[in-house]
Symmetry: C2
């Protein structure tokens, strides 16, 4: 009996060995660079995968919302960091968590900082998020006035403790020059460290994105790295050069429901509600919503002949199939789909099934 | 106290009055055209919204998966139809459901038809799905050979009962000529009805898409309509001309976490894991992931000055804000976002909060 025998509907498969290898590789890399690895658990969102991470020396994690932080609380993490500009409406919940779990938040404006000073009941750490070019969130790296306003207000409470600067260069996903982006990030964080470490000798700088952490070997004096996607990787990361397709640790098992021989198309049950709708578009404008792998009792095999999902709806997925796949496929078969964006797929599916047939938890599938 | 006082994180709001009005409008339209309205519940996925629908004379519903059919079972529906080419791996589950709930499936190939003949233990109805131009799924409208093979095989079992032909002209979402698409659909279904109704006098024809059902007034001799999205509508439907923005019955309440005055941008907690990543793109190439409405204790108001989500990540949403919104917004406020694709947003959020502060169920948020 294998895990395959139990699957009748779209199921997110997790290869524990590949996942552990990914965790180890990044942990070793962080150690080589004398950095602390604090994985962003928005990708895995799992107690069990958290336990695997602990075996590689990881002691802290990051969440992207207070709900996720709540899910990860009480699991023995030395600290949980919420890497999203803190939402002041959630201060009551933050107090609940902070009573028993060491937690840190991200601040980028004085309004929220003041509200924390006024309402915090337990000690909470904070990073200031810095924007050095991505243009999404954070204090502009040269806006020393705002940085100092935030630090000044925070000092009014002995419960709000400055930990350092956090920078997420998310444009590594969109721009091909990762080294140039990292040079900008290194310079920004180094400059800030030099400027403020006299007053805050223990301040740490953290950078957090998988494309950069996967390919860069020069992190300057950055203290910590916080990538998330690397535990699983996905087609987007492979495209960016950060991993091989064989490093992708999750794939969606999908039932084959129809075959159109004249069009070389296969209809599977697997669509936007399973994969999410992230897509890769090639230079000819062709869309790729996921790539086919062949499942067997040991996991999956990436075929030489490429087949991919050319379109998806809410539940439908249409595969443009290779000649080889067309020759072997039957209605009722299961195929595997390597996802474009594994964080979104895992969030959509809400749980994992390992190659050993074990169900692994995910925050989204967990009923409080 | 209003529903607003309880919201601290992204929450999907449901205006029951608008939703009921949408249901009633479509039910009245179906009645006007002497058609049966069988809503596709992939949008609402809710027991409670199902109860509202029953008040407007609706007695049957459609699901897009066996899990959804399971969720809707035992709620008093005269029949539940699974409008997705049937996945033969789920025959055991189908038998479980069919023992107590009248259920019908969709067939498009002989393999699955034969497997049902071999394995069905209880009576199940079926529609043959017809493709008359959308090119996604279904038997080509002129492939009488395949239609007749399916019917011939089905006759070998007294448990597999032919109900009619189902056509989903999904290209109404992509092509502007809805009347032309509907002419093609009407002709296809009429031709099939004429061809097979001698042998199957009770056969029904069903068409199922919200854009067409919302705008068309000529359905020919089609017996049933099966749109789903219309219970809520969304920006995509408004763009297609099927509704006004004021008919949209759901909006995502999002906390404001940061304001960038110099960029006229507002950062909210509300991203791909809440809305899904469906996007509208205007003629200048600008992306729209949702539009801002102002919340108050009676619901929401669509402002004259337009603000919209220009970009989203997994949890982040960045609003390009109007001058008026920039003047009034504060960190800690709640804004509403009208979704681009309400089916996907509801599926992502997994439950609803009504303007009266009542929690309404959704299949995705339901723990079995």
């Amino acid at each position: 009996m294998s895990y395959l025998d139990h699957i009748t509907s779209p199921t997110l498969l997790l290869d524990e060995n590949i996942c552990r290898a990914n965790i180890k590789r990044m942990a070793d890399k962080a150690a080589r660079h004398n950095m602390k690895l604090v994985p962003h658990f928005k990708t895995a969102q799992s107690h069990e995968i958290g336990d695997w991470a602990k075996e590689y020396g990881i002691t802290e994690v990051t969440a992207s919302s207070i709900k996720m932080a709540e899910y990860l609380s009480g699991e023995g993490w030395v600290n949980i960091h919420i890497a999203f500009p803190f939402n002041p409406l959630e201060i009551p919940k933050l107090n609940q968590i902070a009573e028993k779990q060491s937690i840190s938040v991200q601040l980028i404006n004085t309004t929220t900082t003041q509200m924390l000073v006024d309402q915090l009941e337990f000690p909470v750490g904070f990073f200031i998020e810095i924007d050095a070019g991505y243009g999404r969130t954070g204090v502009e790296v040269t806006d020393f006035g705002l940085i100092e306003d935030i630090l000044f207000i925070a000092k009014k409470s002995d419960k709000l403790n400055f930990k350092g600067f956090y920078l997420h260069p998310g444009h590594t996903y969109y721009m091909s020059d990762i080294p140039a982006i990292y040079e900008q990030s290194r310079n920004a964080l180094s400059m800030l460290k030099n400027k403020y470490s006299t007053e805050y000798p223990k301040l740490a700088t953290r950078v957090g994105d998988t494309p950069g952490c996967a390919v860069m070997e020069d992190f300057g004096d950055i203290d910590e790295m916080g990538p998330g996607n690397f535990v699983f990787y996905d087609l987007m990361q492979a495209e960016l050069g950060g991993c091989y397709k064989s490093d992708i640790a999750v794939c969606l098992a999908v039932p084959v429901v129809d075959i159109k021989k004249d069009r070389n198309e296969i209809l599977v049950h697997g669509g936007g509600v399973h994969l999410a709708k992230d897509v890769l578009i090639d230079s000819d404008g062709n869309k790729n919503f996921g790539e086919v792998v062949y499942l067997d009792e040991n996991g999956w095999e990436i075929p030489e002949d490429r087949s991919h999902l050319k379109s998806i709806s809410q539940e439908h997925g249409i595969i443009k199939a290779s000649k080889e796949l067309m020759a072997r496929v039957k209605v009722g078969d299961l195929l595997g789909i390597l996802p474009v964006h594994s964080c979104m797929t895992a969030d959509a599916m809400g749980s994992y099934l390992t190659i050993d047939g074990k169900v692994v938890d995910h925050a989204e599938g967990y009923s409080a």
